[in-house]
Amino acid sequence: MSFAGEESSFALEKVDRSKLYGSRRRVAIDASGTACTRAALTEDGQAVLRSGMTAQGYFDPDGRQVESGALTAVDEAGNALDLVASTLGVAQQLTGPIDPKELLDLAVTAVYRLVPENLAPGLSAEIAAGRILRAPFNYRPDYRSELAYILQNDAGCFAVIGALASPTWLEPDAPPPADDTESDDGDLDFEMF
């Protein structure tokens, strides 16, 4: 990370909910008390798909599988996107301080604790004062660039990673916005299954 003409470097340590609070898992047991394994039954009932029987990939309109190296991407308007390189190991310019509302709007994809290897005095003072800074972040090359928000609290330094979402402004006489997430199961507690 580069801030005010000084470079800092950190090791990344993923913040994992199960390592902080523990976890729970549901397991199916057969009549003899042995744990069952899960499999999938096809819709026509003809095949039971056990572990190792399926794969997934991209296919073109002619039904031919496309190798991952041949994949490209376009934005919502159909414009070709450039591949964004990984930012790991490459100094990224920190900007800010940002308004905390911006971080509240982040659709979070990952959280890392930052273990300082070389923390420049300018950056150290900035985040120790409670200010939050932003930098581009891509763990691996991708067609979408994410953002890292760097902050500090009593537990240490953290990077909160994600892409910005945009809540809708609501007005008195306007129709309500569509709920695109109503049918998803993003809220199901998958530790339960």
């Binding site: 729970r24 057969d30 991209y58 659709a107 939050i132 979402a165 339960m192």
Partner: protein, 233 residues
């Protein structure tokens, strides 16, 4: 339409709509200018997976794969898979015809098993006779983002003129104070929020923004604090 039963600091309550605030969609994938689709397909028939190959060819079956492709069933491999249903395979390898008994295993932060018990079903609690209540805990925005990871956001939406006034007023009060207020569910008004049956228990915080007659009243949901595992240990 999903609803939340909400009561404010003065115990004024109302049922209003909640909608998800979606993350930006990922870029659409293409190949040579044409759109592509992501699909699951059959990669091996039952006779082509490891256990079956060991049974038919023995442990050292690698050379047999090179010589004769016995794992490839040309009639089946590559078949697209659409919808499926979950089934369970018993310890003897047979598909269970009756529903299995379920148990719940609890693991500690160190990954070690702590307890086995009958599953505890979690009921949804945001649309019950007991409203989701404002708690006494309030946090400045700058402090909230340095303490919690907000993994999901729902937006409260008015359903008529009266609820517009109600929600706009709450958003303005919070925006003016630059604060988030903690919400609690259940009879005690202190329980975590559960949006659906067996859903994630969330700590909920309400954040408001106002721009003239326009408003955003956002339910910020968190199940993760910004802590290090070392501090926990």
């Amino acid at each position: 339409m999903r609803l939340i039963h909400l009561a404010d600091a003065d115990n004024r309550n109302s049922h209003v709509q909640i909608i998800g605030v979606a993350a930006p969609p990922p870029p659409r994938r293409t190949a040579q200018g044409k759109p592509v689709v992501f699909r699951r397909f059959l990669a091996a028939a039952e006779g082509g997976i490891h256990d079956a190959l060991v049974r038919s060819l023995g442990q050292e079956y690698g050379q047999a794969l090179i010589d004769g492709d016995p794992e490839v069933d040309v009639e089946l491999v590559g078949t697209p898979i659409d919808r499926t249903s979950t089934v369970y395979i018993a310890g003897d390898g047979e598909v269970l015809r009756i529903a299995p008994r379920m148990i719940e295993i609890l693991f500690g932060p160190d990954g070690a098993e702590r307890e086995r018990r009958d599953p505890v079903e979690t009921a949804a609690n945001v649309q019950t006779t007991a409203p989701v209540r404002w708690m006494k805990n309030r946090l400045k925005r700058k402090d909230a983002v340095r303490r919690f990871v907000f993994g999901r956001t729902m937006q409260l939406v008015h359903v008529d003129g009266l609820t517009y006034d109600y929600l706009h007023g709450l958003a303005k009060k919070l925006d003016d104070a630059d604060e988030l207020v903690a919400l609690g569910a259940g009879a005690s008004g202190k329980d975590p929020l559960v949006l659906q049956v067996n859903g994630v228990p969330w700590r909920g915080f309400l954040e408001g923004r106002v721009d003239g007659k326009r408003y955003q009243l956002l339910l910020r949901l968190s199940n993760l604090e910004l802590k290090s595992t070392e501090a926990r240990a």
